[in-house]
Subunit: 373 residues, 2 copies
């Protein structure tokens, strides 16, 4: 279990197979986010149809609701939500950190108020692992502390705490059928990132996560940070860039040796209601789509694009019909999963680094909303 | 086209095949309602999976949004919403009547204000048919006037107007690939209903609708009205009881010779969030389901029941996840479609009338919400 076999390399980009108790993951992989044990508006059948392989769920949310003990008693997260392929849970650290006004972090852990009912809770490394063991995902995360990217002293303190918490998380872990990943922190400071990468690598976890990015830093800072971190990580373990990202971020991440990504972007965009399209990110509410009989993307093989015209989706949005969110989510997720499939194929044939500029160019229109489609 | 072949009879109950340009309908049939060209929260694939055969959409809503001309230009309703089986549109009469404060009805037609933006519109028999021809459903309805069930003078006036409008609707019709049904009105007055049934039957439309029921009358009044109307209708044409109903209403309607039904109940209940279950109508938000690992209905063959536990659906509801509405809609619709499948089988074997009391008893728990499951 948790073997990682690299099947092809193209400079720093890698294609591989990560074996889990719920099947093999082909990497690089993009994981849809199912925050509350559901990828919003989609059934597991939809996820299978778009060839999703790894689904992320959030420990913070499931701990609060329905409660990790209920999930355990219902047979664990895979059975509860009926996703029988690999799953990943985060540690809750990032969500707690995001509750800026209602949490207090100390060396032992974090106390916070629930966003649901204001009740007080405490997560520690030990508690986070216990919750994640109840949830039962294949890949679980060490409890970590994110930090304000502009506060250097805090970044250093949070990084060192994250290291101690990673050790405690490892010690607390009891299940053999879950892979615990340590998390590299250190903001955008190259020295701290190098220190963190070396520390976490030395823990010899079956995979390593890179946290604290896509939190306000520039793209250049993200790339520079990856350029510091990934060369310090062991080759034979998957690297997971947490909460990233946009199509460009995925391409740039793979170029720098990242294997696993997750992001709410495709499903969040879908509800706004914005779709990845060849001509750029489209706001499908725009009146110009009222009589547009083309699919969102003529080259896409998803159910939405094979079935419905933009005009219909535009009508659903205007009429406030929830099916709009379902149909756009299917397409947006499939678009990123297809991108990863293409990247894997390019790595396998050794052409990814050569083709990356073209891929980046194709996706550059999607960096921001196209207001005048 | 529009042949109706009765394949079995059991006293007044009939099983038959109604041929339409988009395929044969096995009757008795229950039609899910897709008000705005979508059965709320479901894809056409979901509808196929539950063996839906006829889908209703509302002329009033589609006329206002996206506009019937857009639907026509996008290839018609079947193509627009990608439902390639039979469809039915109502005339808009009932929705206009429901806009009590903002509509004015005269002998020529009805003027009303849009519920969307307050703009003023006018529907006449000719306009309703023109709109329905743009939409392109297989079965369309004559423009009719519903009436306040407690105002006898109005009921009589509305019935006579409905008769004149039925004649004008027939005259206005140009498409040969649509079956126009006349509508019997007359409130719960047996004499008026008899007059209306005879008048509409004489128009020789390929099917006949019974309107103005399930609008506040008692169950006994509904049954008595059907007992007056259906014996006066030709045997060789399908009878459509509009906007009805509950499982009991379906059984009682078939017993009285009705062939086609539609109702928003299953999908509306799903969003409330209430499910048809063997022990009665369940409000799945109830905390008693938090650890219930059974499906909604162990005897049900729908995707929801074959896949998910009540505990998971309860979690989705509590977490305000839209997937809950999708999953319960699938089950509630399948429950009524399965009921109709069973009724058709019982009619075929000549046992329906004998088994009806048992069926009614099975469903009696579902007449109202079960508050203490």
């Amino acid at each position: 279990m948790f073997q990682f076999q690299i099947t092809a390399q193209d400079n720093r980009a890698r294609a591989g197979i990560f074996s889990t108790p719920h099947g093999d993951l082909l990497t690089p992989v993009f994981a849809p986010v199912g925050t509350q044990a559901t990828v919003k508006t989609l059934t597991p059948e939809h996820l299978k149809d778009i060839n999703a392989s790894l689904v992320l769920s959030n420990t913070y949310h499931l701990y609060l609701r329905p409660g990790d003990e209920i999930v355990r008693d219902m047979g664990g997260l895979h059975k509860f939500m009926q996703w029988r392929k690999p799953m990943l849970t985060d540690s809750g650290g990032f969500q707690v950190f995001s509750l800026a006004q209602t949490r207090k972090i100390d060396d032992d852990g974090a106390t916070f108020k629930s966003h649901i009912d204001g009740s007080t809770h405490r997560l520690t490394p030990e508690k986070s692992i216990a919750v994640q063991e109840n949830l039962g995902a294949d890949i679980i995360m060490a409890f970590d502390e994110c930090s304000d990217p502009n506060d250097h002293a805090y970044i250093k303190q949070a990084m060192r705490r994250t290291h101690r918490w990673a050790e405690r998380s490892l010690k607390a872990k009891t299940r053999l059928d879950q892979a615990l990943f340590g998390i590299v922190q250190g903001g955008v400071d190259p020295a701290l990132r190098a220190e963190s990468a070396k520390f976490i690598a030395a823990l010899d976890t079956p995979g390593i996560a890179i946290g604290g990015l896509s939190v306000g830093e520039t793209k250049q800072e993200m790339h520079d940070t990856l350029d510091v971190v990934t060369p310090l990580l062991p080759e034979n373990k998957p690297r997971y860039l947490m909460g990233v990202g946009t199509p460009e971020d995925l391409i740039n991440g793979v170029l720098r040796g990242v294997d696993i990504f997750d992001c709410v972007l495709p499903t969040r965009l879908a509800r706004h209601p914005s779709a990845f399209a060849p001509e750029g990110r489209l706001n499908l509410m725009n009146a110009s789509f009222a009589r547009d009989d083309r699919p969102i993307d003529e080259t896409c093989d998803c159910y939405t694009c094979k079935t419905f015209a933009r005009a219909y989706i535009r009508h659903l949005i205007a009429a406030k019909e929830l099916l709009a969110g379902t149909l756009i989510s299917i397409h947006n997720l499939r678009a990123l999963i297809r991108l990863m499939e293409r990247i894997r194929a390019y790595i396998a044939e050794g052409s990814f680094e050569d083709r990356a500029p073209e891929l980046l160019n194709q996706w550059s229109n999607n960096a921001k909303r196209n207001r005048n489609p």
